[in-house]
């Protein structure tokens, strides 16, 4: 699976979870879902874009 698919899946799961946990009523839940989901997706893409100038460095050590 690609990074984008996994990131999207993760954002969707977290968004569903918190919208069910924190909101009552379908409309409120849908609104919070979109806020969290889009916030995570756009935030991650923006952060990745901002990190472009930085060198990648060596691979992380295996724990």
């Amino acid at each position: 699976m690609s990074h984008l698919v996994l990131m999207t899946t993760y954002a969707a799961l977290v968004a569903v979870f918190f919208s069910l946990l924190w909101r009552r009523g379908r409309q409120q839940q849908a609104k919070l879902f979109l806020q969290i989901f889009l916030g995570m997706m756009i935030g991650a893409i923006l952060l990745g874009w901002l990190m472009y100038p930085f060198p990648t460095g060596p691979a992380a050590p295996i724990p």
Binding site: M1, Y10, L13, V14, F17, L20, L21, P63
Partner: protein, 132 residues
């Protein structure tokens, strides 16, 4: 323990919280929140299943690494699935797997999300949270 303290012991809330921890989403189901329980169960099942499919790290305590203890507590938050996977199926994760980092995050998130569900069940059972 005094009689008054005994009568105020929140046995029902404790039992619900323990159930909620052991079997993800069962606390909400027992509280009659069927739709939400179904949603939580699906989310946690996908997160935990995908984490294992990606061969992520199911944390365990490592001597000399204090953060591993915290991470283990977080991962154990998912309840029975943690113990079934670790001790029943002998699951360990595979650091060289392509999805190892993502898998680890999915597994840890499933545990942390279930811990939040336990707190939610506790609050609802104790009448501390307004609910429909």
């Amino acid at each position: 323990m005094t009689e008054a303290a005994k009568s105020s012991f929140p046995l029902r809330a404790v039992l619900l919280a323990v159930m909620a921890w052991l079997l993800p989403a069962s606390g909400h189901l027992l509280l009659g929140k069927r739709f939400r329980a179904l949603g939580f169960a699906i989310v946690l099942l996908i997160a935990f299943g995908l984490g294992m499919r990606l061969e992520g790290n199911l944390y365990r305590p490592v001597a000399g690494q204090p953060l591993s203890y915290l991470a283990t507590l977080g991962a154990m938050g998912v309840g029975a699935p943690y113990f079934v996977a670790r001790y029943g199926a002998g699951y360990q994760g595979k650091p060289e797997a392509q999805g190892f980092e993502y898998g680890t995050i999915f597994l840890l998130s499933a545990g942390l999300m279930n811990l939040l569900l336990v707190l939610d069940v506790w609050d609802i059972a104790r009448g501390r949270k307004e609910d429909e």
